[in-house]
Amino acid sequence: MHDKELLSELYRQIYTIRLFETRCIKLYRQGLIRGYFHPYLGEEAIAVGVCSALNDDDYIVSTHRGHGHCIAWGAELNRMVAELLGKQTGYCGGRGGSMHIADVRAGNLGANGIVGAGIPMGVGAALGSSIREDGKVTAIFFSDGAANNGVFAEAMNLAAIWNLPTILVLENNHYAVSTPIEQLCRTKNLADRAAGYGVENHIVDGNDVLQVYAQAKDAADRCRNGKGPVLLECNTYRHQGHHVNDPGDYMPKDKLEYYRGEKDPLRIARQYLIDQAGATEEEVVTIESEVEAALDQAVLFAEESKEPDVNEFLQEVKNN
């Protein structure tokens, strides 16, 4: 029997991300959100499992598919939606948008529009912790696509030779934009690459929030005991194409069905809450209703928020 409070919280967060993405895609379709939007649908258990295993004063580094990481890290929904709408009240005052949401004061060092770029930056945050001996851990989220970028190899090596307190969270969603990982990597598991750098590594079912949580907790402990880094290859699958305007025709229907059904991280987490923590259907629905209300409120807040002031912006950049 797992702790009911923990399972409720894990489920609440997964449900929040699911609903956030679903609602915001609607706003996108209505033309209220512009630019690129890379949904985290189907991968929610990874962000939630990892972030729940960390301390509040630790660091995370996110990606272009980053809404889930931010929410799992505790971002305010109001400011999240507002940023996606480019409003002044958003996390970046409308300067960042979906691909650049950050809350550095809270230890969320930011999403990133450049695939792989966050890996060395996260290693740097961990290097800082090692210099300051502050006991913090940095979780670096990145994808199978980024694992084929040179900085992945370089940065993993830096983390290894300096024993840095960092968890390299490889979210293997099996596509680099649209190309299947099998075409881009000869070994069966990307985690094998970590072994070549002397880095402790584990393969995790990324759709099973309890598995992710347990492995991340373990990895964080190792990091805090000076035994970092650790790489976790979390296997998962997107519920859609690369971004909202990518129909994802290259994704086999049966696979999509499997991952949206039986392997859906939301479904798995909901079942855990009922089976393992003894929650009633009513209790689960209460959580869901609370999240829905919070999102309604966030969308309202964002829609009613002001646009950034153009003249103020021009003043800001005048003397650059």
Partner: protein, 336 residues
């Protein structure tokens, strides 16, 4: 600095590389968040000995010998900076800094901006450029224009030991990313550097030599070369005012424009190639803001639009030499 102040420390003279070393040592002593990272900077003390002795004094956690993984150790510096440390990352040659452009241009330069003004990336990227003696096409470039072009970066190019120390101190204390470009031919040059701590604030040009006839703007290794030319021209009765911007971003336009208003003639001397260069941009600023004061076209004496060749005679004609500077000044002063 007044002569009285100079005499207080007996006009202590040290080399440019020693001045940089002092700045690093002093700032690392003052602030435990400052650390250095780069290839061969610890045990070896750096290719040009700028970090000599720091490993013994501050230990391997703060003087870090990195693998030859420029993109990632620079990225690590960016990551450390945004969590509050003050890294000084060293890239051996500016040519290799092309490997770190994503981290500098896409990450460090834009971090404060993209976070809506909340984040900071207080780091220094130290590297060196310019021709040496036969180092050829991939170890001799002057690439300041590339960094000059990027909003969010500050750009420093000291020409003297005094400026090197004071500006590096200011760069380390600055809350924004600073690209700090040294010149390989300046490391062994000597000059007065006070024993006490001081800062040369970013964004303040220095009038290296006063003159009434023509304004010559130069930076980095073109400054001593221009000063030598100015001495010879003085013997001919041409008094050249030599302005060293010291920091190209922010650029001290006021000092430049004040000099132009006084002399009415301008020569800009840069080692980098002419096309898309900083000199052209400064010329454009001057013509826009002081057009009525100009008595002749602004001359930009720049490097040739070519990669740097290995052969010494060929290398020499690629960048402005003292006789070239003398010629262009004579022509500009004589122009109607």
């Amino acid at each position: 600095m007044s002569p009285a102040e100079q005499s207080a420390d007996n006009g202590r003279e040290i080399m440019y590389r020693e001045a940089l070393n002092e700045a690093l040592r002093e700032e690392m002593t003052r602030d435990s968040d400052v650390f250095c990272i780069g290839v061969g900077i610890g045990q070896r003390g750096g290719s040009y000995k700028v970090t000599a002795g720091l490993l013994d004094e501050f230990g391997p956690k703060r003087v870090i010998d990195a693998p030859i993984s420029e993109a990632s150790f620079t990225g690590a510096a960016v990551g450390a900076a945004i969590t509050g440390l003050r890294p000084v990352a060293e890239i051996l040659f500016i040519d290799f800094s092309l490997l770190v452009l994503d981290q500098i241009v896409n990450q460090a330069a834009k971090h404060r901006f993209m976070t809506g003004g909340v984040g900071r990336a207080p780091m220094v990227l130290r590297t060196q450029g310019g021709v040496g003696n036969g180092l050829a096409a991939q170890h001799s470039q002057s690439l300041e224009a590339m960094y000059y072009h990027i909003p969010g970066l500050k750009l420093v190019m000291p020409s003297t030991p005094y400026d090197a120390k004071g500006l590096l101190t200011a760069a380390i204390r600055d809350d924004d990313p600073v690209v700090f470009l040294e010149h390989k031919l300046l490391y062994m040059t000597k000059g007065h550097v006070p024993a006490d701590r001081y800062i040369v604030e970013l964004g303040h040009a220095d009038v290296k030599r006063e003159g009434k006839d023509i304004t010559l703007i130069a930076w980095s290794n073109m400054v001593p070369r221009s000063l030598a030319a100015a001495e010879k021209l003085s013997a001919e009765g041409i008094e050249v005012e030599v302005i060293d911007p010291r920091t190209l971003v922010p650029l001290d336009k006021e000092t430049i424009l004040a000099s132009v208003r006084k002399t009415s003639r301008v020569v800009i001397v840069q080692e980098a190639i002419r096309r898309g260069g900083v000199g052209s941009d400064i010329a454009s600023i001057i013509q826009q803001e002081a057009f009525d004061y100009l008595d002749s076209p602004i001359e930009v004496l720049a490097g040739k639009n070519t990669a740097i060749p290995f052969n010494l005679a060929l290398e020499k004609v690629c960048v402005p030499q003292e006789p070239d500077i003398i010629d262009v000044v004579r022509q500009t002063v004589g122009a109607v």
